[in-house]
């Protein structure tokens, strides 16, 4: 208002004697309210980058990339860990759907977010910073069954939300599939230990070697705790369903992988067959390869249908793993009570099945035999349903839940591989977070459905903890840096950007250990290594920062009406003068502005 009073006023001459003797201007035009010319008014907004919308944890990648690029590493880590507790882990094991969403993909290739996330996790790793809780202690307690990624994520978020969390784990170490399912050459156990240690220091209590082994224990926990989160995963290998699969020399891929962590050693011999096309199959194959065996993966469909990540398949091939496509096992060939090979049948692809993939159909008379010293079966995992109370329903092999993993017992939630969702680490983190929010709502008596409307990213199933915090407190630690910036739940697509401001550039590949080093001497060292600072910075600079103001100054530079001023941080639009031309918004490279209809003020 004071600004309005300070505006120059128009000059009115009542007499020629008041005027200069010639047509000469000495006064400014700043009295002239050209803002009245406006139909549309510009404003600053924050939209959701497409990478974030593609990430099940709705990780605000743009935010931490921006801070990381400025060299504010701890702040970047702080921003990243709002949604995702484990940058160092996810930078190693995530199949990074964010990169499929990345708009940079249209102009040279997606930003190598996965590499950057690892770099961020490693940059702070040794310092062991601890994420601080957002709220005072609530006095409420939650039990979590299972310390895999879903359980850990739920524990992490609930702790930050102020609740006391106890994690029950039946193994001797926490980590679940992260520890027992993922080989060390992908995720070093030191990193995993470090990250779990961080959780302990936050105040998460781990009860190891004391897992829930029957349904009655679950009932007790339900009574002792304000809420329970069940994240026991899917640990049981699915049987092959062929004759003699119980023969010595045939084992589950998952057991094989777990053995490395539990200390049991298997003599697998020099010729290993792996059955299956998922990540467990590939992990088992690459591990076997590292033990010196000749390894062949047998898969009943074609390569395009393999559920394992393309990068992992490629790495396996680089390391010398053979992959035989369109082969299905028929029976185990037993010699001297030991599996000596596998009789298989060639397949061809027929009509699509219910999964949308073309169904493999046996080709008559195409039997083929493979010799083996060990057969590893990895055609999927099943849930150990016996520890779940029988009143909770299963459907199609997964526990039935309502939104955010809530079971029919209101205070009991479930997430991770036990429920119907993609069996990936990042989906497990997503489930842990969603349930943590649902539990928090339950403990606060908040209406979950209404809350979900506010915190869902676009039309995805993913939720944002940052937005949840904003809902709870009125402001958020990482959303808009500027109070005048409106948050829009709109996802920025490539066509929303002003591509004129970006040039094509190729992504930087993550540095990897040479193949020869992987197979001898350094067998179980991580295949990927942290990028150099130079490489990392170059990759950071490739981010478009979709939907977010980077203070590039375009709006300021291009305003023909000098109506945009630079502030300490951000910009100020003087609506007294803004004619609403829309140039600022159009020239914003990253869709961080919008034009909206001028309100009729009465």
């Amino acid at each position: 208002m004071s600004q309005e009073q300070n505006r120059p006023k128009p000059i009115k001459y009542n007499s020629a004697t008041e005027m200069p003797y010639c047509d000469l201007s000495q006064a400014t035009m700043e009295w002239n309210q050209t803002g009245t010319w406006r139909y549309l008014r510009p404003s600053y907004v924050e939209r959701t980058p497409s990478c974030q919308a593609a990430c099940p944890t709705s990780n605000d990648i743009e935010k931490w990339i921006k801070l990381f690029e400025k060299g504010e590493i701890e702040a970047a880590w702080g921003a990243a860990t709002i949604e995702n507790p484990f940058p160092a882990i996810m930078g190693r094991v995530c199949f990074h759907p964010c990169m499929d969403g990345c708009n940079r993909g249209e102009l040279g290739g997606s930003v190598n977010i996965n590499m950057l996330e690892r770099a961020l996790g490693d940059a702070v790793g040794e310092k062991l910073p601890v994420a601080t809780p957002f709220f005072e202690k609530s006095g409420k307690s939650v039990a979590i069954i299972g310390s895999g990624p879903a359980g850990l994520a739920c524990a992490y978020h609930l702790t930050r939300l102020g609740h006391k969390v106890t994690v029950f784990e039946r193994e001797k170490k926490a980590g679940g599939m992260l520890r027992y399912g993922i080989p060390a050459y992908r995720l070093s156990k030191d990193v995993l230990d470090r990250e779990i240690e961080r959780l302990s220091r936050m105040g998460v209590e781990f009860k190891l070697d004391s897992g829930v082994r029957d349904a009655t224990k679950m009932q007790e926990l339900k009574q002792d705790y304000n809420a329970v989160f069940v994240a026991i995963g899917a640990q049981k290998s699915r049987p092959l369903g062929i004759p003699d699969e119980k023969t010595t020399g045939v084992m589950s891929g998952l057991d094989f992988l777990r053995s490395f962590e539990t200390g049991r050693k298997h003599n697998i011999g020099n010729r290993v067959l792996v059955i299956g096309g998922g990540n467990t199959a590939v992990d088992a194959a690459r591990t076997a390869k590292r033990l010196g065996a000749e390894v062949t993966i047998l898969y009943r469909r074609s390569r395009a249908e393999m559920p394992a990540s393309e990068e992992e398949i490629q790495a396996a091939e680089d390391e010398g793993v053979r992959i035989e496509m369109l082969i299905a096992p028929k029976r185990v060939i037993v010699k001297s009570g030991h599996a000596a090979g596998l009789e298989c049948q060639r397949m061809e692809l027929g009509e699509p099945d219910e999964s949308g993939r073309r169904r493999p159909v046996p080709v008559e008379g195409s039997e083929i035999t493979f010799e083996s010293t060990t057969i590893l079966s990895a055609i999927g995992e099943q849930i150990e349903t016996n520890i779940i109370p029988s009143s909770l329903r299963f459907d199609n092999g997964a526990l039935v839940t309502k939104s955010c993993g809530q079971t029919e017992w209101n205070s009991v939630f479930a997430g991770g591989d036990i429920i119907e969702q993609p069996r990936t680490v990042v989906d497990a983190l997503c489930a842990g977070k969603k349930s943590s929010i649902a539990i928090d709502c339950l403990l606060h008596g908040d209406n979950l459905d209404k809350v979900l409307d506010k915190i869902q990213i676009g039309d995805t199933e993913y939720v944002s903890m940052a937005r949840y915090l904003q809902h709870r407190t009125g402001n958020s630690p990482i959303l808009s840096t500027n109070s005048e910036t409106e948050l829009l739940n709109e996802i920025v697509r490539f066509e929303d950007l002003n591509a004129a401001y970006f040039t094509k550039s190729s992504p930087n590949e993550s540095p990897t250990l040479p193949v020869k080093d992987r197979l001898n001497g350094k067998s179980f060292e991580e295949v990927h290594t942290s990028p150099s600072e130079e490489l990392r910075n170059d990759e950071l600079s490739r981010c478009f920062h979709c939907g977010r103001c980077t203070e590039c100054d375009n709006c300021f530079i291009y305003c023909p009406d000098v109506a945009i001023a630079k502030k300490q941080s951000g910009f100020d639009i003087d609506l007294y003068y803004c004619k609403g031309c829309g140039v600022c918004s159009f020239e914003c490279p990253r869709a961080a502005m919008k034009m909206s209809e001028e309100p009729t003020e009465l």
């Binding site: 009245t36 010319w37 139909y39 609403g580 829309g582 009729t600 003020e601 009465l602």
Partner: protein
């Protein structure tokens, strides 16, 4: 004599609107005069246009200072003090807006004024006149104006539009007719009479 003032913005077609209205009334045998504000026009900047109507030859060539009716092509111009300057409160104020007249009657100074409203922008956009961000609303508003003031028939307006618009005659005709139907106002009989109105009406009949 009846004096009408249009308030619009550069590019909205206020000047052409004035010409079309004058032409329509001329078709009904009256003497008319239409003229713009004399000066430089800028897209979006507030502009005015004027129409005079009389039964006899119009000799007055000065600008209009005390209009009988106001046609406001852009609702944001309500904020501009120049809009209501000199307005004779017996006449009509026709506003292009989504709101109903009641909303404007709350504005100090407009309490007892006859207000009509029509969503001319919406009608123009539906008929693809101008762009959604800057619709050309002149023909729509004229349809509404002739309904409210009965200053001429909608047929005359249509005839004048056909002659007067540079492009899209059919879309403009359709817009005028839609606005004729959609305009929101109370008929004069429904309105409480004011002192000035009685005087104005007698003036009108003596013309």
């Amino acid at each position: 004599m009846i004096e009408i003032r249009f308030h619009g913005r550069g590019g909205q077609g206020a000047v052409i609107g004035g010409k079309i209205l004058a032409t329509a009334i001329f078709y009904e045998g009256k003497f008319v005069q239409a003229f713009p504000t004399f000066g430089v026009e800028r897209r979006g900047a507030p502009v005015a246009a004027f129409v005079r109507v009389d039964d006899d030859r119009i000799n007055l060539r000065s600008q209009i200072y005390e209009p009988d009716h106001l046609i406001i092509l852009d609702p944001t111009l309500i904020k501009n003090p120049a809009t209501f300057q000199g307005f004779k409160k017996q006449g009509w104020v026709l506003i292009n807006t989504k709101y109903t007249p009641e909303k404007f009657s709350e504005i100090p100074g407009l309490e007892n004024v006859k207000i009509a409203t029509v969503d001319a922008s919406g009608i123009a956009v539906r008929n693809k006149l101008g762009s959604p961000s800057s619709p050309i609303v002149n023909t729509s508003i004229l349809g509404a104006f002739c309904r409210v003031t009965k200053i001429c028939s909608i047929d005359s307006i249509c005839k004048a539009i056909k002659k007067g618009v540079p492009i899209k005659p059919d879309a403009n005709l359709a817009a005028a007719k839609e606005a004729y139907e959609e305009v929101i106002f109370k008929s004069v009989e429904e309105l409480p009479p004011t002192d000035g109105e009685a005087e104005n009406l007698s003036n009108a009949t003596s013309n």
